[in-house]
Amino acid sequence: MERQAAAVRTTSARQPADVASQDGDRPHVTIRDLSKRFGDAVIYDRFDLDIPRGKLISIFGPNGCGKSTLINLIAGLIPLDEGEILFDGQRLDEIKFGYVFQNYREALFPWLRAFDNVAYPLKLMNVPRAERRARTERLVAHLGVKIDMNRYPYELSGGQQQLISIMRALVVEPEILFLDEPFSALDYEMTLFMREQLQRIFMETGTTTVLVSHDLEEAVYLADRILLLSRHPATVADFVHFDIARPRSDETLSDPEFVSIKAHCLEIFQREVRK
């Protein structure tokens, strides 16, 4: 099993680079003519966006601009009014994806042990019990998670619960992972720890990741690309590259490139807020 885990690591770690070199900049997700309104509020009006493959994309923007709505539309939690979202040409129901909610307390199943919470999506896919076990154990080992997986969610700390949520999203080996403000219910210390966890998971798996954040520092620190949205109807105010090598650390926060990218994002954000 160890060898298998190692194999998974090498292939998945290499995958993004390979794909990028083969396909050039062929996007993973294409959003075309997306429209969505809630009552009288037009959140999206003929919105277009390409999400690159194997990158970590942060979405940042003014309050109520539709950051979470965007990933909820992409992940099918709420229906589109108009438009089309394709994943490398496929529809949502043809691909595997993971979604992590902000409210881990209400997203996990308190009647299941942590282990069974993580394994639950495999049960939905009718994976046999022994294989569910093996795959979940492999994921736990692979991520080096040090949580007692036999505990119930309510016996774990907030950060541990959110880590379980993230693992539950990863266990199906998703092509794309969505996280809706995953750390905003955690205290600062735990948030810092969880950022590192997420960065490590991303480096290990290379899964296309879309992260909604309300914290600009976090959004830039974690991202390859920062999507800055305007007030609604939301448009792409900017889609900024941030290419500093991983793993990033506390030193990244004082790196001139980080500082200037963050300042640039803040400037655009301020401009959009004042509009």
Partner: protein, 252 residues
Amino acid sequence: MMSRADPFLPIIGVIGLIILWYLAVWYQVVDPVLLPSPTATFAAMWKGMAGGKLGYDFVITVWRTALSIAIAAVIAIPLGIVLGSSERLYRSVEFVVDFFRSTPASAMFPLFLVLFGVGDKTKISVAAFGAVLVILFNVAYGVMNARKTRLLAAKVMGASRLRVLVDVMLLESLPQTFVGLRNGVSLALVIIVVAEMFIGSVDGLGHRVFEAQQLFEMPDMYAAIFAAGALGYGLNLFFLLIERRFVHWSGK
């Protein structure tokens, strides 16, 4: 701060009550015929429960209450889940449920007497009728108030509607279901005991209380009242323990 003596605090009330009772008997605050001493009462209780009439009636009442709550649960839990899983459906029957839930079940005796005649059937079915509505209401609300995020989480992982119902809604509703079962069993016991006092009853705790009073056997009457109290408390505790065992996440 929890002191080591804290678990024994409830005993203080019991001892206090018994002391008051002794004082009332000692100073003859109440006619001695109406208020026997605690010793006489507990002696009557001991004698009655250990092979006497009281023990027999106690078992009969337990049996009737258990049967009525079992019938009620079998009807109300599936129905509550079905009604709760569609808010529109529940809203359309809500008034009817609330109306009969508010109707004193004892007012239904004459009707059930006509339907089922004098006997166990009437007592059990009136009690079950009362309990059904209480359980139904709680189960339906438990299902309706299932955390939206949890349902969404299951849906986003690809769970079908049926899967969401079985894997999430059902379990989400369990804490509220137990609230319904506890309230239901209390109500069923009340109805059973009242029914046993009237309508040609020959056994049960209600009958025991009533007969002892008619024969002016006051220690026996108090003994039967305490037995009924212990039964009510015990049934509630029983459901609480089951809940703690199987719905370990309740309130967490």
